[in-house]
Symmetry: C2
Subunit: 702 residues, 2 copies
């Protein structure tokens, strides 16, 4: 075991243990802390941030459909949905034959039908607020602000021992003054914004400066040593954690410089409340992103700055809101543009980099900007960062609880580094098309074809929705093919000695192994209420076995399901083997049933008890059996048709705690279900505490 | 002017003034305070409650569609919608030929299509929480708890003077102990609930007891004298305010005694999560109301208690949860019913009473249980009570601001006493059918026909939705016919000397004068986002002039609308005459446009400026013009078809601040619009303060 390395002539600092130490409380760090707040009974989590406060304005703020689905699984999707600006349409503006910009196309911003949400915009400060509220509601985890990690050691020899603490970190508490960045205040009149480039990728990191300051200060003695089982670096592009483990970002910057203005626009440009891509003939490009509270964000290409600096690091002082606005005015002419109120501004240099590794022995992990940086215009950065830790959180929790094998943690790098590489490729292509000069005609080979640009935009929208994510074959995705080829190159196939479960993906047309479970409305059998299927999959750490049971008013189908019920209810079923003793029967693997019979012709209590568990305190559980039938107020949803499942044959689907699909097979194929879970689940430690309630409290349903 | 009448040998108490004094902070009082919180710039409001805390469980809790629409107009409908249990279906259970209860029918709980919401159930404590949060967000009004009014005087001679304070009330502050009722604590195991009859209509009022206690206590000196322009008694069935003004409730009690249990049921009754009406052959009736958090409320007829007491006031101590449960078990046999957890219980005696007057000189008003009491089973009481003050709030605010004539306040009694009378009739009929024994066959004339019961249930559902409310002709509803006959008998026609505006209700099939504006989705012209039309009508005190302008891509239609725009924008238009100087142009009368042309073929800025007001600070307003066109993600809504409006001719609609329809006419009929507003609006006082912003901040839209 490591001993604290930082003593500095001071008394030996206090030492404490935690299961997961999160460094950085931006969106990626908060997503992780939020996940772990759902396991606060079993997992001791701490989260540090060097800043004294959360973000209040500016910064990344597009939210993908998939991110909203994830927020909804944590019960705050509706807050983002209500407060945000919804983007419905993209208008493309290009020079006409006289070089004057004209609207050339309208395309939907979100591809219709891919999600129950559409892409929206809301500033990062509100998103952090939703996370903080959600964490506080579910746990006593508090963000420890103004806290800086200053030393790190790692004991590789114990990294295979689940119970060990291979990580030792010393942290230092800063004073409020030390932790307050010199970010400019919001200007009410557009003047006097002193440093809009704070946190731009054109400014150097200030972590070392903070460390130096803190060590000199009179509070330098306020250090603490933390031993952790796992550590996750969510600490941004200048990641301290990444530097400690010695990983690097690979890639490069381009010559393109862009400015950003968040303003309440005063303009006669007709599409100022649409998302717009405006290519001027020769003055560069503008992207318009309408926001909440009357604000509009403008991404503005700074061709003059770029020319002056020739691509090298240049004089930041030449970039001001006035310079950025003047560029926008040139690009958007003959339309007029000005503002009285500027909320925030910045500038950045386009580049794409991705981390060479995402994990040190599956004990230290990197996520978000610490392992991928790119341009902000496609609205991807914050989404992909949050989805990194959404992927990681439940895996860490089950590792700490001892309910999953440690090897499951390898799938984090396999799944997420692949996504980061895809993102970087996407951004590279998109940035080039957006920053280039429009072609004058088909012979103008140096110019960008506007048809090609539109095509890229339409295709990019599927990627940008976050819905296209398709995790490769692994011990937790029972898909054919090589896990090495389908991921980032990491081998995450099942361990030798276990038998792989076989999927039958042909049993459904529109549920795909490795992709997130699509959503359609189904009715609760007991009370006829319609629910979006995803609402039945809250992020609480449960795996789900979903039984599309066919027509249960048919006797043979009912008997088939009840035979499965007998297996599931038996003492040595995979549910009873792996669920920690004393915990609710639905707390590790929840069984949900969706049948295709007529609701009014079927009685819930004709099903075996595992499909609607009974407890002495609460009686039967009425929130596990659903039906694909006509609703009173929302028409017919045709869930079986939507999913492409045969109404008699049905199928079974295993869904991960993050809503991605693991296995598809026959509804009564108990054997393959058992094989699937047996490959990575572990008989739980007896030390896990029993809970009072005997069923899982998915409170959104009650 | 009155002087304080309560001195009691103590030093003269402090005196302060307020515009509106609300007595009672239950749902009716909180609804009113919430309304007035939207006017906190102009209206000084105080709200008193004799209790020390808000309600935590039990009590009325059905929410009508209309109530949810109103909550949504205050921006917290989604909280009620998410937390509540939704009721979709009513199952009717009746004795079969062998006397065994069977499900005989299923009917939708809410009539499909009448609202975007359906009836739900949520306990009163949460509803009071939403109000308190909303009030705090919009104002600094605080509920003054443990505060008892102890004397009242009224100076009738100044009641016609808007600026005068005809009301003087002395209040006394109680200690916490004095104000804490002896309500039983919630039982975790079903035992030891000592007094479930707290606040039942079978217990005497405790107000006088509280007054006596307070006067004896050492804090008796802590009195205060309040002078008020208006006072509203929302202080329940034993209303102190009603007693002060000398009004009475007319009506009578019946012999029927009912018990109420809120339990987590342990049962094999198949429809326990449905709303059920169960008539047993001879043991009485049960109504099942499924609730949030696994709870179910059972209304249980206590035939044994009734028989023992013979209709007179009886021995309350004979009613216990065990007695109530035993009745339910007899009625629901052969199904089993028990519980481990009881959240609350009570009992009540059915009766119907309505106040003889709702207002003293339009200065003191009564609302809610203070003027109507009835049985709770139809889920009406809290809804009608809140809708009383929803009707009154904006009228009071405009009276205090001086923007409406005081005579508008007469419409409160005309409109709401009529509703109370209808409610009492409904409840009388419904209670009789529900409490009676089912007929054995067609010859059993003493028994209740189950067909008649079902018929009453189906018809009652329209009334019970709250959507059927139809306010009569008055100075604020330009409807033909007699205001005396269409209301409670009060004359609320327009004053002599003004000319009545003429409506043309035939211009729309599905918008009705006197009823609330129905809702369908329309798209924002500027950003293509779909909004439910009611979302464009937040309760902020504005009147709305809605222009269904026809096809604005047609030149003649555009010119017609722009000619109206010239009238509206002129210096002496009704908008500019009545809007207080310095206030946003859309703060008193907001102009909304819905056109029927193709969105993509129309440019917002081709409309005259009154349809999208411009300010120097914020540029154009992009949130006032909408279009009936196909959406990207929600299909075609066909708003013109839904409202039954001709797509070329269009029409204009004036909507009250509470979403009820006042006038329907031709889209360019400026003359009648002007007549309508001129009948009751007043040129505002110069003393109203100017605001900073120059447009109305309907923040839900941005």
């Amino acid at each position: 075991m490591a001993t604290p390395v930082f003593t500095n002539g001071q008394p030996q600092p206090a030492t404490s243990d935690c299961d997961v130490l999160i460094v950085g409380a931006g969106p990626a760090g908060l997503m992780l802390a939020n996940w772990l707040s759902r396991f606060s009974q079993d997992v001791k989590t701490r989260i540090l941030d060097k800043r004294g406060t959360k973000i209040f304005n500016g910064q990344a703020d597009g939210l993908q459909c998939r991110t909203l689905e994830i927020f909804d699984s944590f019960d705050f999707g509706h807050r983002a949905w209500r407060e945000s600006n919804h983007m419905l349409e993209i208008c493309l503006w290009n020079p006409d034959k006289d070089g004057v910009i004209r609207r050339s196309d309208r395309i939907p911003d979100t591809i219709p039908g891919i999600s129950r949400f559409q892409q929206v915009v809301l500033h990062q400060g509100r998103i952090e607020r939703f996370f903080l509220d959600s964490i506080a509601k579910n746990s006593d985890i508090k963000v420890e602000r103004a806290t800086l990690p200053i030393s790190f050691s790692f004991d590789e020899s114990v990294s295979k021992n689940t119970e060990a603490y291979p990580i030792t970190v010393t942290i230092q508490h800063l004073t409020e003054e030390e932790a307050t960045p010199k970010q400019s205040a919001t200007s009410q009149n557009g003047a006097g914004i002193s440093d809009g480039l704070f946190r731009s990728n054109m400014t150097p990191d200030d972590t070392q400066e903070l460390i130096n300051l803190a060590q000199k200060s009179k509070h330098a003695g306020q250090t603490e040593t933390i031993r952790a089982k796992f550590m996750v670096g969510c600490d941004g592009a200048h990641s301290w954690v990444r530097n400690q483990v010695g990983f690097t970002l690979k890639g490069e910057s381009t010559d393109y410089i862009w400015g950003v203005l968040d303003i309440v626009p005063i303009t006669d440009f007709p599409d100022i409340r649409m998302r717009c891509a405006i290519h001027s003939a020769s003055q560069g490009s503008v992207m318009v992103i309408p926001r909440e509270n009357k604000l509009v964000r403008l991404y503005i290409q700074l061709t003059t700055v770029q020319n002056a600096a020739g691509g090298a690091k240049f004089d930041r002082s030449t970039i001001t809101p006035e310079v950025i606005l003047a560029s926008a005015q040139r690009i958007m002419a003959p339309y007029k543009l000005s503002y009285k109120y500027c909320d925030w501004w910045t500038a950045y240099q386009i580049g794409q980099r991705v981390g060479d590794s995402f994990s040190l022995h599956e004990r230290v992990f990197l996520a978000g900007d610490a392992v991928h940086t790119h341009s902000p215009k496609a609205g991807q950065g914050m989404n992909v960062s949050m989805q990194d830790t959404y992927n990681l959180g439940w895996k860490l929790a089950h590792a700490v609880r001892g309910t999953h094998d440690l090897s499951v943690l390898k799938t984090y790098q396999s799944e997420r580094r692949k996504i980061a590489q895809d993102l970087i490729d996407f951004d590279h292509k998109f940035s080039r098309l957006f920053s280039g000069r429009p072609a004058k005609d088909v012979l103008d080979e140096e110019g960008i074809s506007m048809d090609e640009f539109k095509d890229a935009f339409v295709k990019g929208n599927m990627f940008a929705s976050g819905i296209a994510v398709d995790y490769g074959s692994s011990m937790i995705v029972a898909k054919s093919g090589s896990s090495v080829e389908q991921g980032d190159g990491t081998d995450v196939s099942i361990q030798s000695g276990t038998t792989a479960a076989i999927s039958k993906p042909e049993l459904t047309k529109n549920i795909s192994l490795g992709k997130r479970m699509p959503s359609v409305k189904v009715l609760n059998q007991a009370d006829a209420r319609p629910w979006h299927f995803q609402e039945l999959l809250p992020s609480n750490g449960c795996w789900r076995l979903v039984l599309f049971a066919g027509d249960l008013t048919d006797k043979a189908s009912l008997e088939r399901l009840n035979r499965l019920g007998a297996h599931l209810g038996s003492k040595d079923s995979f549910i009873n083997r792996y669920t920690p003793p004393g915990r609710p029967v639905d707390s590790l693997i929840e069984v949900l049933t969706v049948h295709s019979g007529k609701r009014a012709e079927f009685e819930l209590l004709s099903l075996a008890e595992p499909f609607h568990p009974y407890t002495e305190q609460d009686g039967y559980d009425y929130w596990k059996v659903f039906v694909d039938d006509v609703s009173y107020h929302e028409g017919e949803n045709k869930a079986y048709d939507f999913y492409g499942i045969d109404k008699e044959r049905g199928c079974g689907v295993i869904i991960r705690p993050d809503q991605y699909v693991s296995w598809i097979g026959h509804v009564d194929d108990y054997e393959n279900m058992d094989k699937f879970f047996s490959a990575f689940m572990k008989t739980p430690k007896a030390t896990i505490r029993a809970t009072n309630g005997l069923t899982n409290d998915t409170s959104t349903l009650r």
